[in-house]
Symmetry: C2
Subunit: 342 residues, 2 copies
DNA sequence: CAACGGCTTGGTAGCGCTGTCAATATCAGT
DNA sequence: ACTGATATTGACAGCGCTACCAAGCCGTTG
């Protein structure tokens, strides 16, 4: 004999079936589709499974059925609060379903993303949720070859691999500037960190709005590839002031930078918004409770995650969403930090 | 025939072996332990795999080998920045290893935790990282029956299931109060949200230190089961002021509350620290860049996650850590918000 | 020169479950 | 009573990989 059975006491489906007096396949059906069984057998299998403390072997199930109940999620950062909200939405939507989540962190690298995508392939995921629309060509090939629902989240754009949910970062950037212009600000600076594709599109929105208003000036822009933080917000804002001392307002590419800028203003005894207006992005919870309260562009992160997961779920259930691309929009939350100049 | 082969074009290990001119088992060894092969065969298998674009089937591997390369991680919250840092540490430590992470969210419920633990069982994880030391009795039974390394993180206590890494929240709470007492503050309030077991132990530390100093007063404590947020920090602080208008300082059970309290002070035109000292907990990045800078108890969250994962890895590699319980300690970062009263 | 031991390689038989299809039981309608 | 349709159940084989053991190969040793 090539291999001796090393698991004498282990409870397999066969044991459950034996105790319940049914065939293994019937017991198997009990776990996957109980309605298909007669009431009597259903009860017998159920009590047998409970009595033996049966735990199904997922690997065997996956091998035999050629699919898993794992939904792969690719996000670029674990630290960024934005993705925490998205994740919460995903987890909430999947809660109670039989699907579980396999989370992977791309660290904002599309090469890393491609590697992780390959890794997911080996798991035959039931569905995939990936961040953004800037995948490598190879990543796209992989995604197109995987036979499972895929949702790209965080932004929308042309040519979805499968489904898509998000909003236009370009438009959102434009809207933030439109608000400031509307409030009478003219010299409006831009603060950006990380500069991932979505941030760059917000910058494009800024550039477009400013150019249109005849106010564009390269010196108003300060960016860095460094990951964002509140401390960085202060530093970048100081840099911006050095480059363009006459600015009246600043659009920060996220809320951490905005709060950092606010504190830098405090440090310099500049009054917000009288001497400096501040607008952030994402509308994290704290923006409404700072002093002064901070204007921000609200993005529907939780809903994005939740809906993305639900779109995968619906597709798996055979009810494919009518609209594969969903624009969740955004809204400029106008608060004290950017009220009209006098 | 019971089942016809439905995968005519799929690349299995057999195909790779055939192309490389070796037996399947030799090809298998290439992927698990390349050193065992002769140099020639190693190269042949490698190029064959690459040529065919072979992706191993993890389910089959798991079924045949009776184990997986998945490490289960149970944390109570995705939103809380504290766990984002822990997770980052875990992901960093596992990066480059062959292990992947299965993350599950207990939502601060030990019943949910037990359910998820059962779910993990079915996956035969290679290791387990769980938060805290307050598991249900059944959870403990499950954990003790699983044959894999387990690390309890975030705090230390008696009777580890297997390994443990964290610090004493009781001592940390005491240390925060000791610092305030040392700076001359006497009427010190306590602000707590969520009130999970670790927060309660911080409260015990507060109670112990205050009692010891002969300063304990039940009216100085304001807590809620509501999840923490900056806004809540402002609200709770207002409640505390209503109950005890004469307080001189406040110890907030986390940094969000502390920043919320700071803004509430601003709103009330109370000068920090002259009229009100504030101490937070965790020392998130923003504590050092607010105005005034905020004192906080630094906890080594990233290291906790990283070391926990490394402990699992080491155990899996057969090098069991000499010390199964690791105290990572904490440090009170003294900043402007709690400098000595005049 | 036979015996030995280390290294590499292969054969065999499953791991535990489920897809497929056939068989049987049940029931309504004529 | 018989037919056909539907609901339930079971037999069989195999999903793709690896554990176990055995065999082959080689150089070394007494």
């Amino acid at each position: 004999m090539a291999r001796k059975r090393i698991t004498p006491g282990k409870i397999r489906l066969t044991e459950v079936a034996k105790l319940a007096g049914v065939s293994p396949i019937t017991a198997s059906r009990f776990f996957r589709n109980p309605e298909a069984l007669s009431v009597g057998k259903r009860a017998r299998v159920e009590s047998a499974a409970k009595e033996l403390g049966y735990v199904p072997n997922l690997a065997a199930r996956a091998l035999a059925s050629q699919r898993t109940e794992v939904i792969g999620v690719l996000i670029p950062s674990l630290t960024n609060n934005v993705f925490a909200d998205v994740l919460r939405g995903i987890y909430d939507a999947l809660d109670g379903s039989r699907y579980s989540i396999q989370l992977a962190n791309t660290r904002y690298s599309i090469l890393q993303e491609e590697r992780l995508l390959r890794l997911f392939l080996a798991q035959k995921p039931a569905g995939l949720i990936v961040t953004g629309i800037n995948q490598t060509a190879d990543s796209r090939v992989i995604m197109e070859s995987v036979d499972c629902p895929i949702v790209q989240i965080m932004e929308i754009g042309p040519a979805p691999v499968d489904m898509m949910i998000g909003f236009s970062h370009f438009d959102a950037g434009r809207a933030a500037i439109a608000h400031l212009l509307d409030q009478g600000y003219r010299r409006i600076g831009f603060l950006g960190a990380r500069m991932d594709p979505r941030v760059q599109r917000r910058l494009e929105g800024y550039r477009s709005a400013m150019t249109e208003a005849g106010l564009f000036d390269e010196r108003l822009i300060v960016t860095t590839a460094v990951p964002t933080s509140m401390t960085l917000g202060g530093t970048l804002f100081a840099d911006l002031l050095a480059k363009a001392p006459d600015i009246e307002a600043v659009f920060c590419v996220n809320d951490d930078l905005a709060l950092g800028a606010l504190f830098e203003c405090k440090r310099r005894h500049m009054v917000v918004p009288d001497q400096m207006a501040i607008v952030g992005f994402n509308d994290l919870e704290f923006m409404a409770s700072s002093v002064p309260t901070l204007t921000s562009v609200r993005t529907n992160r939780y809903e994005m995650g939740r809906n993305a997961a639900m779109m995968v779920l619906e597709t798996l259930a055979g009810r494919r969403p009518a609209e594969p691309v969903v624009d969740l929009g955004f809204s400029v939350m106008e608060r004290q930090s950017s009220t009209r100049r006098v």
